[in-house]
Symmetry: C2
Subunit: 244 residues, 2 copies
């Protein structure tokens, strides 16, 4: 028995998120488990570090699986990739300690892409949220900075989340424009359900002038979900990497 | 009656090229004509400057159409865009002389994206051709330079082309690498059927060491299609712009 850590990229457009669901719901976990199982000829369970939602993308989701195989690691990785659909790829694979636990992530980075233009995106339409109103990037950047530090993010969690501890540390949060794309990036110790998308939804309301950057501190202090902005659409979100 | 010049972007993945074909074959021209016709309430014919093939993309295809409308140009553009599928967009629109002829292009630029990595692309899979063998970019660049100038490109045209004059001027041709992407760009007075893709197929054989850069001169001189490399797949090709 060997344990492997997998670094997985996927275009989430066609999937109902990472997490396995009853047949025939297409999920990324199911595709990876099916491909790996076909190669090692036994059922495989792949636990993921982040449960990305329907339509959310990843460049660096991390999963772990136990398998019985005589293949060397790189050959196994390529064999599984050859069985995966073309919107999912195992980018890296390494043998790890049997005790390796994907839930022990220390730091994660998410990116959210906003297509800020009057016209909708053609080539970025699957990974950017089209926002046609003018955005004040400086104000948005000021708001982002106020997320940094250790805070109770109760006001930014989706209702479906039942985890009790809502305190998280944000190591960095910033936003910049590159032509039509406005890119929001955030690194933290962990994220609550819908937390990144609710941060983005709030920062967008700062960008369009409906709120002031300082609202971020007030919303955090309120611990009231109704004070924060809406949850931004899944299409723009991408899990960039996870560190252990 | 007004005549408009349209600058059109499209992801060609879902279309059997630009050129209208009998129903129900999906083509870009048909979609644009259908959307424009629905807005102005009369049949519209949109002539394109380049007949892009099945699966080929464009950031700057140029079309022209005559319409009867009281809408101002920007309102008309937005109205048509609202009727177009999300993989086609009219980026610019301007009223032109009734004599404007899209076939009088002076200069066109095409780009061809190669995903040069052992692993297939996930996010670029719809607009880059996956080439997993090692590529010698310097040798490819040397080959590209030999296309520049006025030459008879008979050896680089697909058999379907029956135009008599096969002399074209290449103003610039070059290639560079940006991480996994190898980007080939060419500007010319015009291009024969399959000419860019056959240039790319030939340059790839220089990149993998099967041919020397100097082969380009020999192939051009031969005027024999069998001397050139294969026609590279449509997926990597994008019509960047057209100047008049």
């Amino acid at each position: 028995m060997k344990r492997y850590k997998l670094t997985i990229a996927y275009d989430g457009t066609a999937y109902c998120g990472w997490q396995r669901q009853p047949d025939p719901v297409p999920t990324v976990q199911r595709e990876v488990e099916k491909a790996a199982g076909a190669i090692v000829s036994h059922p495989v369970s792949v636990l993921g570090s982040s449960r990305t939602d329907t339509g959310v993308h990843a460049r660096g989701q991390v999963g772990a699986m136990n398998v019985e195989t005589h293949l060397d690691t790189e050959r196994l990785r390529k064999a599984i990739n050859s069985r995966l659909p073309n919107d999912i790829l195992i980018r890296q694979m390494e043998e790890v300690d049997l005790g390796f636990d994907v839930r022990t992530a220390k730091r994660k980075r998410y990116q959210y892409c906003i297509w800020s233009d009057q016209d909708r995106p053609v080539f970025q339409r699957q990974w950017a949220y089209h926002y046609y109103r003018r955005l004040d990037i400086e104000a948005m950047q000021a708001a982002c900075k106020l997320f940094e530090g250790e805070h109770d993010f109760e006001a930014f969690r989706g209702q479906a989340d039942e985890r009790e501890n809502t305190v998280r540390t944000i190591f960095s949060c910033s936003i910049h424009r590159r032509a039509e794309l406005v890119i929001f990036g955030v690194e933290g110790s962990g994220f609550l359900y819908h937390m990144v998308r609710t941060m983005v939804g709030t920062v967008l309301e700062v960008g369009n002038g409906r709120r002031k950057p300082e609202c971020v501190c007030e919303i955090i202090a309120s611990k009231d979900r109704r004070q924060a902005g809406p949850c931004a659409p899944a299409v723009g979100l991408c899990l960039q990497w996870i560190r252990f």
